[in-house]
C-alpha cells in the first residue's frame, strides 16, 4: 500500500541565533493523519520543510519506514508536498502539471495520461485538464495541487497550510475532500495549520507546537479535554482559567481551593502528577460554565455581565468577576430565542460540575 511510517529523532534547526526547531522527536504511524498545529513561528513549517528535504537539519535523523533519509535530496524521498500557495507551474497546463512527477519517474506517456485522468477524477475536476493554473479559481487550484501530489502515490504526503488562502465555506468543503482522499488512499499525511478547528476536525492526532518545540502530542480529545499546559488550553478552543491550590490528590481527582476562596471544590486531573500545596490553574470550557441570577443559586463565583454576543448557534456571555484582578470569564450556551435572559450590568452566579474542571500545572506559578 502506498503508505509509510515516519520517524523524526532529535531533529533541530537554527538560523543564526534563532532556534527554529529545538531537538524534536516524533513518530507518525503508517496511514495516520497527523496535524502540526501552532501559532506562526512555532516551528511547524520548519519541521515540515526538514521532513520534505527542502531544508537541512543541524542535528537529528529522519527515517521513512526505518530507512534513514536525513541527507537524501527532496527528489529522492518519495514524499509529496502540497504547498501553501499551491506552487502550480504557471507555464504548464493542468494536465502537464499533474503529469510532471510521472515524467520525472520516466513513466510511459500512455500510462501517465491514464494516471493523470484518474487523479483529476479523484479531485472531481476532469474538465479542466487543458487549462492553465491562472484560469482556475483558488479552490480549483487547490484541488489540482492535491491531484499533482496523489498521482504518483507518494508514501507520505505533507501539506503546508493548504487551505489558508480559501474562504471559510470552501475551506470546510475542502477539509471533507481531503479527509475523503485520505480514507481512500490510506496515505500517511502530515498536515500543517494554525487553525485549531481545522486540526480538530481532520486529525487522528495533533502535535501542538510552541516556540520551536512540541507542547503536547495526542488525539484531539486529549488536547481539548486534558490539556497539559495553559498554552494548550488557550490555543484549542475558548477556556476560562482560574487560579487554585491543590489540597489533596486521590484516585478520582483533586481537592482544590480556588484563589481567594475558602470553600473546597473538586477538579479532575490531566495526567500530570500534582502535589498537595501546588499552585495550579483550573480550566472550565465556556459551555460548561453554568449561569444563574445572583442569589438564586449556590455558584462558586459571582460576576457582572458586561456583554452578550450571539454568534449563530451559540450565545456568549462575558462576565467581569467580582474578585479584583481576576481575568474576565466567558460562558456559552446554545442560542434559543432572541430574548436575552440576562441584562447587561446584572450580577450573575457562576458554577460548574467538578468533572468539567480540569487541573493544569501552572508553569509560571499562580
Amino acid at each position: 500500500m502506498a503508505s509509510s511510517s515516519l520517524r523524526v529523532a532529535n531533529l533541530s534547526k537554527r538560523y543564526g541565533d534563532f532556534v527554529a526547531l529545538a531537538p524534536t522527536s516524533l513518530d507518525v504511524a503508517k496511514g495516520e493523519f497527523l496535524t502540526l498545529l501552532g501559532p506562526s513561528g512555532s516551528g511547524k513549517t520548519t519541521l515540515l520543510s526538514l521532513i520534505a528535504g527542502l531544508a537541512h537539519p543541524d542535528e537529528g535523523r529522519i527515517l521513512i519506514d526505518d530507512a534513514d533519509v536525513t541527507h537524501s535530496p527532496a527528489y529522492a524521498r518519495d514524499i509529496g508536498v502540497v504547498f501553501q500557495n499551491y506552487a502550480l507551474f504557471p507555464h504548464m497546463t493542468v494536465e502537464d502539471n499533474i503529469a510532471f512527477p510521472l515524467k520525472m519517474r520516466k513513466i510511459a506517456d500512455v500510462e501517465a495520461r491514464r494516471l493523470t485522468a484518474e487523479a483529476l477524477d479523484t479531485v472531481r475536476l476532469p474538465h479542466v485538464a487543458k487549462r492553465y493554473p491562472r484560469e482556475l479559481s483558488g479552490g480549483q487550484q487547490q484541488r489540482i495541487a492535491l491531484a499533482r501530489c496523489i498521482v504518483y502515490r507518494p508514501a507520505i504526503i505533507l501539506m503546508d497550510e493548504p487551505l489558508g488562502a480559501l474562504d471559510k465555506k470552501l475551506r470546510d468543503q475542502m477539509q471533507l475532500e481531503i479527509k475523503r482522499i485520505h480514507r481512500e488512499l490510506r496515505t500517511t499525511i502530515v498536515y500543517v495549520t494554525h487553525d485549531q478547528e481545522e486540526a480538530m476536525t481532520m486529525s487522528d492526532r495533533i502535535c501542538l507546537m510552541n516556540a520551536g518545540a512540541i507542547e503536547q502530542l495526542g488525539t484531539p480529545e486529549d488536547l481539548y479535554f486534558r490539556p497539559k499546559s495553559v498554552f494548550v488550553a488557550d490555543f484549542l478552543g475558548e477556556s476560562n482559567l482560574l487560579g487554585a491550590t491543590v489540597q489533596a490528590v486521590d484516585a478520582d481527582g483533586l481537592d482544590i481551593v480556588l484563589a481567594d476562596r475558602e470553600a473546597r471544590s473538586r477538579a479532575v486531573g490531566n495526567g500530570s502528577a500534582f502535589a498537595a500545596g501546588e499552585p495550579i490553574k483550573i480550566m472550565v470550557r465556556p459551555q460548561n460554565l453554568t449561569v444563574e441570577s445572583a442569589g438564586s443559586g449556590h455558584g462558586k463565583l459571582t460576576g457582572r455581565l458586561t456583554d452578550v454576543m450571539i454568534s449563530g448557534s451559540l450565545t456568549r456571555l462575558y462576565i467581569a468577576p467580582e474578585t479584583a484582578g481576576m481575568a474576565p470569564l466567558v460562558a456559552a450556551y446554545p442560542t434559543r430565542s432572541s430574548a436575552a435572559p440576562y441584562a447587561i450590568g446584572q450580577m450573575l452566579s457562576l458554577g460548574w460540575n467538578a468533572a468539567d474542571a480540569v487541573a493544569i500545572r501552572d508553569a509560571k506559578g499562580a
Binding site: 500500500m1 502506498a2 520534505a52 528535504g53 527542502l54 521513512i64 530507512a67 533519509v69 541527507h71 537524501s72 535530496p73 527532496a74 527528489y75 529522492a76 524521498r77 518519495d78 514524499i79 509529496g80 508536498v81 504547498f83 501553501q84 500557495n85 506552487a87 502550480l88 507551474f89 504557471p90 507555464h91 510532471f100 512527477p101 510521472l102 515524467k103 520525472m104 519517474r105 520516466k106 513513466i107 500510462e111 494516471l115 477524477d121 479523484t122 472531481r124 491562472r134 499533482r148 501530489c149 504518483y152 502515490r153 507518494p154 508514501a155 481512500e184 488512499l185
Partner: protein, 606 residues
C-alpha cells in the same frame, strides 16, 4: 468515488521512487559553488575594467623616468582645461535640471494611466531611449540646419527674413542632450512612481486635503527618491558625453571627453589622456559622495521604492523649510484648481488635459526629429526641407557599399556575442546575489554596477591601451569583451529583478515531485524565466549594437561597427545616406523594442 487497488504499474512508480532514496546528490560546499558562479564575472571585470582603468591612471603619474606630475602641471598650466571642465559641468547641470523637470510630468502621467495607454506612452519613451544617440543627434543637425525644418518654417511664416544660425550653440547642444537623456530620466523616475501606493493620495483626500495639497504633501515627497536617482543618472551620463557636443556644439561647447579623444587619436599622449581621465573620474566621484551624503546611495540601486525610502540626511531646519514650501505649493495649487472651471465629468484619478497635452508635446519633440529622417531619406534634394521627389538611391548606396554592409554584419556579430557572453557571465552572478547568503552582497553589487558609474570614455581609453599591447585592437573578440563589460551590469540588474519575482517554491515543488536539480532547471526554472532572460539578452545586444565609445578606438575601416561607421561618415559630411541608415536603424530598434515588450508582458502575465 471508489478507488481501485494499486496496479503493477503504480507499484513500479513507487519502486522507482524508492530506488532513488538510496542515491545521494553530490553536495558542493557553498564556497566552491559561489566561486564557480561568481568568478567569471569578477574575472571579466578585473581584467577588462579594473586593470585597464588602473593602467590609464598609472600612466598619468608615470613616464619613462618614473613618477612624475608633469601631466597634471600641464593640465593646470593654462585655464583651457579647467574652462572645458566648467563648461562640461554647466552643460551637464542644465541638462539634468531640464530632464528632471520635464521628465517628471511624463513619468507621472505614465504611472497614472491605465494599462493600455501606459503601454502606448511607454512605447514612445522606449523607442526614443533605444534609438541610437547618433541617430538622434544627427537628426537635430538636419533639423536645426540653415535649410532645416525649423528655419524653413520660420521663413515661411515670415517670422524671420533670413535663416538663423541655430546650430553650434549652447542651445543646440542643450536640445540634443535633453533629447538624448530625457528617456533615461523618465524611466528612472517611473520605476519609483510605479511603486507609490495610489491609495495614499486618496487617503489624503478623505482626510481633507485638496488635490493640490495631496500631490505636493503626499505624492511628491514619496517620488523624490526617483527624482534624485534620475538626477544623478542623467548627470553622470551627461558628463561623459561627446557625441552631442561634437555634432551640435561649436568650439565653445567642447566637453571634457572630447579632449580625451583628441589626446588619444591625434597625439597618442596616453599620459595626458590619463590625467584628464583622473580629473573626470574625480568629478564623478565627488558627485557620488555628495549624493550619498544628501540622499544615500541606496536610493539608486534599483531597490529604491517609495516604501523603503529612508528619511534623507538633510538637516532638520532644511526639512522644515521644505515642508513649508510644499504646504505653500499645495495651498496655491488648490486655490488655482478652485478658480479653474471644474469638470465634473472626470474622476479624481483622471489626469488633466494640461498634463496630457504637455506630455504628448514632449514625446513629439523627442521622437519627431528621427521621424523626419524617413521622408528625407527618400528625397532627391539632399537633406533640405521639404523633401523633394522620391528615390531609393540612398538605400542602394548603403547596400552596395561594402563598408556599410560589413559594418552591419560586424555589429550584429559583436552584438550577439556580447549578448551571449553577458548572459553566460551575468546570470550565475545574479543567481548568486539573489539566492545565496554570500557575505558582502552590497559591495559585490556595487562592484558589478561600477561599469555604469565609471565614465565610458575612461573604460574605452584604458581598454584601447591594454588591447594595443596584446594585439586585440580591431578584433571582434576584443570588442565583445569590452561591450560585455559595459552591458553586464544591465544583465545582472534585469536578471536579479526577474529572479526576485520568481517564486522559489516552484523549484521546491519540482524537487518534491521527483525532479533532480538539472531537470528542475530544464522543465521549470528556465521555461518560466525564459522570457525574462530573452529580454535581458536583448538589452545586452542593444547596448552593444549602439555602443560607440569603445568601438571608436577599437575599430576602423572595414573592421568598423555600425555606430563607428556612422560616426566616421557624419563627422566627414552630412549626407542623405546617413538619413537612410538612420531610418533602417530606427525601424530595426522599433521592432526590437516591440519584441522585448511582448516578452516582458508574457513575463508579467505569468
Amino acid at each position: 468515488m471508489p478507488l481501485r487497488s494499486a496496479t503493477p504499474r503504480e507499484l513500479e512508480v513507487r519502486a522507482v521512487g524508492r530506488l532513488r532514496t538510496l542515491q545521494q546528490a553530490p553536495v558542493l560546499t557553498p564556497v566552491l559553488t559561489w566561486a564557480a558562479m561568481g568568478a567569471p564575472l569578477v574575472l571579466l571585470l578585473a581584467l577588462f575594467l579594473v586593470y585597464p582603468v588602473g593602467q590609464l591612471l598609472l600612466l598619468s603619474i608615470h613616464n619613462d623616468s618614473g613618477f612624475t606630475l608633469a601631466q597634471y602641471r600641464q593640465l593646470f598650466a593654462s585655464s583651457v582645461y579647467v574652462d572645458v571642465l566648467l563648461i562640461t559641468l554647466k552643460i551637464s547641470l542644465v541638462t539634468t535640471l531640464v530632464c528632471v523637470v520635464t521628465g517628471y510630468p511624463i513619468a507621472y502621467l505614465i504611472s497614472l494611466v491605465g494599462k493600455e495607454r501606459k503601454a502606448t506612452l511607454l512605447f514612445w519613451v522606449l523607442l526614443s531611449f533605444w534609438t541610437s544617440f547618433l541617430v538622434r543627434a544627427f537628426a537635430w543637425v538636419v533639423l536645426l540646419g540653415r535649410n532645416g525644418v525649423i528655419n524653413k518654417l520660420l521663413l515661411s511664416l515670415g517670422i524671420v527674413s533670413a535663416p538663423l544660425d541655430l546650430l553650434y550653440s549652447f542651445g543646440s547642444v542643450l536640445v540634443g542632450m535633453v533629447n538624448a537623456l530625457l528617456p533615461l530620466a523618465v524611466l528612472t523616475m517611473l520605476s519609483v512612481m510605479d511603486n507609490i501606493d495610489r491609495n495614499l493620495p486618496r487617503a489624503a483626500a478623505t482626510l481633507g486635503a485638496g488635490p493640490g495639497m495631496a500631490f505636493w504633501k503626499i505624492y511628491f515627497p514619496l517620488s523624490l527618491p526617483g527624482v534624485a536617482a534620475a538626477g544623478i543618472m542623467v548627470f553622470v551620463t551627461a558628463i561623459g558625453f561627446f557625441i552631442v557636443p561634437a555634432l551640435l556644439g561649436g568650439r565653445r561647447e567642447t566637453m571634457i571627453t572630447q579632449l580625451i579623444i583628441d589626446q588619444v587619436q591625434q597625439t597618442m599622449n596616453w599620459g595626458f589622456a590619463g590625467a584628464i581621465s583622473v580629473l573626470l573620474l574625480l568629478v564623478v566621484l565627488v558627485v557620488f559622495v555628495v549624493y550619498d551624503r544628501l540622499l544615500g546611495l541606496s536610493t539608486m540601486t534599483g531597490a529604491a521604492t517609495a516604501a523603503n525610502a529612508r528619511p534623507s540626511r538633510l538637516s532638520g531646519s532644511f526639512e522644515r523649510i521644505g515642508d513649508v514650501v510644499l504646504t505653500l505649493l499645495g495651498a496655491i495649487s488648490d486655490r488655482i484648481i478652485r478658480v479653474l472651471p471644474s469638470r465634473r465629468d472626470r474622476g479624481p484619478d483622471t489626469p488633466g488635459l494640461w498634463l496630457q497635452g504637455f506630455v504628448w508635446i514632449m514625446l513629439l519633440i523627442i521622437s519627431a526629429p528621427t521621424f523626419l529622417m524617413i521622408p528625407l531619406s527618400f528625397g532627391t534634394g539632399g537633406l533640405n526641407w521639404p523633401p523633394q521627389g522620391f528615390t531609393l538611391h540612398w538605400y542602394q548606396e548603403v547596400l552596395q557599399s561594402p563598408v556599410w554592409t560589413q559594418a552591419v554584419v560586424r555589429s550584429l556579430l559583436v552584438g550577439l556575442g556580447t549578448g551571449a557572453l553577458a548572459m553566460l557571465v551575468g546570470t550565475p552572478a545574479a543567481f548568486l546575489l539573489v539566492r545565496s547568503n554570500i557575505p558582502g552582497k552590497a559591495a559585490w553589487l556595487a562592484f558589478i554596477l561600477s561599469p555604469i558609474v565609471v565614465p565610458r570614455m575612461i573604460i574605452a581609453v584604458g581598454l584601447f591601451y591594454v588591447f594595443a599591447r596584446i594585439g586585440l585592437v580591431g578584433s571582434a573578440f576584443g570588442l565583445i569583451l569590452g561591450h560585455t563589460v559595459v552591458a553586464v551590469p544591465y544583465v545582472v540588474m534585469t536578471m536579479m529583478a526577474v529572479l526576485r519575482n520568481y517564486d522559489t517554491r516552484l523549484d521546491h515543488a519540482a524537487q518534491s515531485l521527483g525532479a533532480r536539480p538539472l531537470a528542475t532547471l530544464r522543465y521549470v526554472t528556465f521555461p518560466i524565466l525564459g522570457a525574462g532572460m530573452m529580454s535581458s539578452f536583448l538589452f545586452a545586444f542593444a547596448t552593444s549594437f549602439d555602443e560607440l565609445t569603445i568601438a571608436l578606438f577599437a575599430t576602423g575601416g572595414l573592421n568598423a561597427t555600425l555606430p563607428k561607421q556612422f560616426w566616421d561618415e557624419v563627422t566627414l559630411q552630412v549626407s542623405p545616406v546617413i538619413a537612410a541608415v538612420s531610418t533602417c536603424l530606427f525601424i530595426f530598434m522599433g521592432i526590437l523594442i516591440f519584441v522585448a515588450e511582448r516578452l516582458r508582458r508574457r513575463v508579467a502575465a505569468n
